[in-house]
């Protein structure tokens, strides 16, 4: 579970690290990804595991479009830039939830009989649920891929450079908007991947994003804003803390542990564990 939190959070961290914008619709991106995965299964009988790349691609486009249509303008605001970003992405989240209710109805849905759903695997006598295990595997692969991408490809370098100095980047002929749009696409694609995996073992409903969004923000902040690696590490910590809290406290209080750890960490290190901003 921790690795999946990490994967959700990495997308958010990427967008944040890139341009200092917190996407308050991140949970809704996840929700959309789960629905896409669900419909691919229902209409084309493609298992969520196989459709994950398709979902990621769809979310990539979606993320880029959101940037071009909304965030680009939000970043131009001369006054109260932070509030404008918060509320424009938050407004978007409300619209997305409304649209999901409108088109998909508020019913709870789930993917029946996926390859992974409900199965467990026994490793050295410990029973582990297969979907979570697969999620962890995909998360690690995605993270390795992202690491390679940021540090080894031209686009990745352009991304880093734009983050550091958008002005200078423009001088060497890189279009800032294109890089940012691609960055948003990439961030959304990562959450798309997470959504596709989660579709096989979570109920899907219009408000599903909200329950994960706060955890994603906490994860990113725990790891430290501006650090993609931090978000991943934050995800693992959050997963572990959640599991530990569930042993000590009643299940309804399991999130309290995560929140308490976040507060503790920022009181000691006000910029998160690996943060630079």
């Amino acid at each position: 579970m921790g690795l999946l939190y990490g994967l959700i959070a990495v997308g958010l961290a990427l967008i944040f690290g890139l341009m200092d914008v917190v996407n308050f619709a991140h949970g809704e991106f996840l929700m959309i990804a789960m629905y896409v995965s669900f419909f691919l299964f229902t209409f084309f009988a493609i298992d969520p595991l196989l459709s994950a790349p398709l979902v990621a691609a769809a979310l990539f486009v979606f993320g880029a479009v959101v940037y071009l249509l909304i965030v680009r303008f939000a970043m131009r605001a001369k006054a109260n830039a932070g509030m404008v970003q918060i509320f424009s992405t938050f407004g978007l989240a409300i619209v997305m939830r409304g649209l999901a209710q409108f088109f998909f109805t508020p019913d709870y849905r789930s993917v029946p009989q996926s390859w992974l759903g409900g199965k467990t695997i026994s490793i050295a006598g410990v029973f582990l649920p297969e979907p979570q295990l697969m999620g962890a595997l995909v998360s690690i692969l995605a993270f390795a891929g992202l690491y390679f991408f940021i540090h080894r490809t031209d686009f990745g370098r352009a991304l880093e450079a734009t983050r550091e100095d958008p002005g200078a980047v423009a001088l060497v002929g890189i279009d800032k908007n294109r890089v940012f749009a691609l960055g948003w696409g990439l961030g959304a694609a990562l959450v798309g991947l997470a959504g596709a995996i989660m579709a096989s073992f979570f109920y899907i409903y219009p408000d599903v994003g909200a329950s994960f969004a706060l955890i994603a923000y906490v994860t990113v902040a725990l790891g430290g804003f501006g650090s993609v690696f931090g978000a991943f590490a934050g995800g693992i910590i959050v997963g572990l803390v959640e599991a530990t809290t569930a042993l000590v406290l009643p299940p309804s209080l399991k999130s309290v542990g995560i929140y308490a750890v976040y507060l503790l960490v920022v009181f000691i290190r006000p910029r998160g564990l690996f943060g630079s901003m």
């Binding site: 404008v84 409304g98 999901a100 409108f102 219009p206 309290v256 976040y262 920022v266």
Partner: protein, 327 residues
């Protein structure tokens, strides 16, 4: 003190007095209970948003966890009333005091945090409060508290037959929050807060005790919000954790101020006057289908207003006024 500023402040006070008087007469013409309900909620959110604005707008410490103080106001009042028979009027003040104390206790570690770390910490602490109340058996846990009906009386601040007393209380609360803001704007605190918001380091070097001024703003803000919470509890006659401490309250307190103009005197009132009726009307006229059209309309408006008017609706008003406000 330059003359423009003094003139503007006197004019603001007169406008506020006229608006309050007009609002007080409104129930003579508006007999429809549904409309009265909307008016009460509008006044309440205007008051809450005005209080939120003190900490987040003037002092620049964006809090998205004010639902905590709202809930504490509601719960303190109702627990004192149902368990110990303390009248809501005293409970209300007790709730305000408890909320202010908690705000200062939390401020101690919280005000070291900056930017997003602070915002997320405020969301998280409100969420912890919500979860704790949901699991606190003595306080009714997730079932909440139903306030026993003891007949209409001002003493117990409880009215079943008419909504008018609630309307007048909400009006007083709203005027009070506005007046406190108006008064603070020109006080030593007001100037300190704006200095802290603009540049804490520079403020500190000029002798502003940054930490104390943040604490002051937090306490005033939490106190007023808790009074609002106590009012809401009496108004609904039923509370449960989600309905007084949920994240949506934190947002509904922030939204009017942001849409109207954050850190301005009139922003929260203006924002609430537009946003709350809009919310209620979209909910009841197009939300009935249960298909989320109200959410689509509402969300789109938030996106458009926040993109088109980053300084809020107040910025639409005359340039002269803006000059005074940003002085």
């Amino acid at each position: 003190m330059d003359k423009d500023f003094a003139t503007r402040r006197r004019r603001d006070l007169i406008i506020a007095a006229v608006l309050t008087a007009l609002a007080a007469l409104a129930p003579l013409f508006i007999k429809d209970v549904y409309v009265q309900n909307i008016l009460i909620l509008t006044l309440m959110y205007a008051a809450l948003s005005q209080s939120w604005n003190i900490l987040s707008g003037y002092c620049g410490q964006i809090s998205l966890g004010h639902a905590l103080y709202f809930g504490i106001g509601a719960y303190t009042t109702e627990l004192l009333f149902t368990k110990f028979g303390v009248l809501p009027w005293f409970g209300m003040l007790a709730g305000g005091a408890v909320a202010a104390a908690i705000a200062m206790g939390l401020g101690y570690p919280f005000f070291r945090l900056r930017g997003h770390y602070f915002v997320i910490a405020t969301i998280v602490i409100a969420e912890i409060g919500l979860l704790l109340f949901q699991n606190w058996e003595w306080a009714g846990a997730a079932m909440g508290i139903t306030i026993p009906v003891r007949g209409d009386s001002w003493l117990k601040f409880q009215f079943m037959r008419s909504k008018l007393p609630y309307f007048y209380f909400a009006l007083v609360l709203c005027s009070l929050a506005w007046f406190v803001t108006w008064w603070l704007e020109d006080s030593k605190w007001g100037f300190w807060w704006r200095a802290v918001k603009d540049n804490p380091e520079a403020a500190e070097s000029l002798g502003v005790v940054v930490f104390n001024s943040k604490m002051g703003a937090a306490a005033v803000s939490a106190f007023l919000v808790a009074i609002g919470g106590a009012f809401y509890a009496q108004f609904l006659a039923y509370i449960d954790p989600e309905s007084v401490m949920g994240f949506q309250f934190s947002l509904l307190m922030a939204l009017p101020a942001v849409l109207g103009g954050i850190g301005t005197l009139w922003g929260p009132v203006l924002g609430a006057a537009i946003l709350i009726p809009m919310t209620e009307l979209t909910r009841s006229y197009i939300g009935g289908s249960g298909r989320g059209v109200d959410l689509i309309v509402y969300g789109t408006l938030i996106v458009l207003i926040s993109l088109a008017l980053p300084q809020g609706l107040v910025s639409l008003f005359s340039r002269a006024k803006r000059k005074g406000a940003t002085r």
